[in-house]
Amino acid sequence: MDIINLVFVFVLAIFLGVELINKVPSTLHTPLMSGSNAISGITLVGALALAGSDNEIVSILGAVAVGFATINVIGGYMVTDRMLAMFKKKEGGDGK
């Protein structure tokens, strides 16, 4: 039953992801790519738990994962923000 719940979550998230991204203008493809790339650094959360293990091999492997995932997360969000900071609208217009 537990696995089936996880599968349900998986299926729903896939459909939701598809709905969310469909029809994004090409203007935003690159920042969208790097922004969602940063989200995939969520492995960090999984890595943290493992890095805290008593078993030395486990915790070292986990710590390595923490390191790489952190690069992905920090770097990804910062790069995306830098890109998006440059998207400006002509003053006075309203959002579209």
Binding site: G17, L20, T30, G41, V45, L48, G67, L84, M86, G93
Partner: protein, 454 residues
């Protein structure tokens, strides 16, 4: 913190990711969306740190090193190198999934089959993502040749590797104590990432990166299944699905199928291929003469392409725009979806130069009114304005939607030579009656135009 509270935080984080992704889909809210998503990440990480019995030394080590590298690289990187940066970060994400899977395996004494399958998936997809992304990085940053590397039997070799991986998987799952099969599979998956990206040309890398991004999401989701962490599943699947869709949108914009992008080695041909249909006289023009035309123009459309990126001409373009506007002309930009070498390439560059994004019109908006423009200034674009896509049925790009620059009253083409663009085909536009060639580096030519105005 009790696990219930951590779970609630995870739900909040998932919601923030969803809302963040939604906001990322519209120019007006995209930056906010990225911040929202990063807040989701932050609270998820902080909540996880409250799990009992963590070994903080190692964790902090990982944080500090990874955080420093990420932050420094993200700050230092040039705007023009964004695509390769994204590829690199993506590769690290894949590598992290590989290590999470591996670590989870070591942590489990008597693993079940479901666990083994998901661990295996997270390791393999993670590994493939890692090497594939590294290679994409290399090609984009021109550390290695961007040329597609094609050889006969490529698909057979790749299928063979994939099959070998599956065999390893079966053998490993039957006897998880013997981890040699796993190591072999890891090696094969690293190899597969390389073989997968090798035949793809540098200019198709954005599609590949988006696909690899999707893979890294799937790898994270697989890791989530393995360690039973639902947030990994949600976030990973969201990224997995959105990456696939994004890949698909990009292919559509180039009027090519995904398999054509992945397997065809597009861009191999570097010299003119088909017969040149419409030859004629090339009419060069000096910047000074062009100035008089621009001075008299009341509406101008700027069509940038890859050459603008090469020449780093975005700032001087903006200067010219302001001068023209000051002179009473309407100036808009026409952006082809695959102009440049990554999707949204032109948008990012022009945004860097502070061009308001509501001046950037998409192809479908601009084509119907192209005739109304006095001058079209083509800055280092070639394929995306090639009328052969409309007129020459034998052309390799026939059918690709292009910007109909030739329909403007006068067309200025700024490029250095008569060389062809990425697709390696001739461009009949250069020989049209109303076309004038302004040869030279785009930045220099534009600089001369600006000077003429002062």
């Amino acid at each position: 913190m009790s696990t219930e509270i951590i779970d609630l935080v995870y739900i909040a984080a998932a919601i923030l990711f969803i809302v963040g992704l939604k906001f990322l889909g519209s120019p007006a809210t995209a930056r906010k969306g990225n911040v929202i998503s990063s807040i989701g990440m932050a609270i998820a990480v902080i909540a996880t740190l409250f799990t009992k019995g963590l070994n903080f030394e190692l964790i902090i080590g990982g944080f500090v090193i990874g955080g420093l590298i990420g932050a420094v690289v993200a700050r230092k990187v040039e705007m023009t190198s964004m695509p390769e940066m994204v590829a690199l970060f993506n590769g690290f994400g894949g590598l992290a999934s590989l290590f999470v899977g591996w670590s989870a395996l070591k942590a489990t004494a008597s693993p079940e089959v479901f666990f083994l399958v998901t661990v295996f998936l997270s390791i393999l997809i993670g590994g493939l993502t890692f090497t594939g992304s590294l290679l994409a990085y290399g090609k984009l940053s021109e550390r290695i040749s961007g040329r597609p590397f094609v050889y006969a039997g490529q698909r057979i070799v790749n299928s063979g590797i994939l099959l070998a991986v599956v065999v390893c998987a079966v053998l490993f799952i039957q006897n998880p104590a013997d981890q040699n099969w796993l190591y072999l599979a890891v090696g094969l998956s690293l190899l597969l990432g390389v073989m997968f990206v090798l035949p793809i040309g540098g200019a198709d890398m954005p599609v590949v990166i988006s696909l690899l991004n999707s893979f890294s999401g799937i790898a994270a989701a697989a890791a989530g299944f393995a360690i039973g962490n639902i947030l990994l599943i949600v976030a990973g699947s969201l990224v997995g699905a959105s990456g696939i869709i994004l890949t698909n949108i990009m292919c559509k914009a180039m009027n090519r199928s995904l398999s054509n992008v992945l397997f065809s080695g597009f861009g191999t041909v570097s010299t003119s291929s088909g017969p040149v249909i419409e030859q004629g006289e090339v009419k060069p023009m000096s910047a000074d003469d062009a100035y008089y035309v621009l001075e008299a123009a009341s509406s101008v459309v700027v069509i940038p392409g890859y050459g603008m990126a090469v020449a780093q001409a975005q700032h001087v373009v903006k200067e010219l725009q302001e001068l023209l506007e000051h002179n009473g002309a309407e100036v808009v930009y026409a952006i082809h979806p695959v102009a440049g070498r990554m999707p949204g390439h032109m948008n990012v560059l022009l945004a860097e130069a502070d061009v308001p994004y509501d001046l950037l019109l998409e192809m479908d908006q601009i084509n119907p009114r192209m005739e109304t423009f006095d001058v079209a200034i083509i800055i280092g674009a070639n394929d995306v304005v090639n009328p052969a896509a409309r007129e020459v049925e034998s052309s390799p790009i026939y059918g690709m939607p292009v910007i109909n620059a030739d329909q403007a009253q006068t067309v200025f083409v700024l490029k250095r030579s008569m060389a062809s663009g990425f697709a390696g085909i001739d461009n009949p536009l250069f020989f049209k009656e109303n076309t004038r060639m302004l040869f030279g580096d785009a930045k220099e030519t534009l600089g001369n135009l600006v000077k003429a105005f002062d």
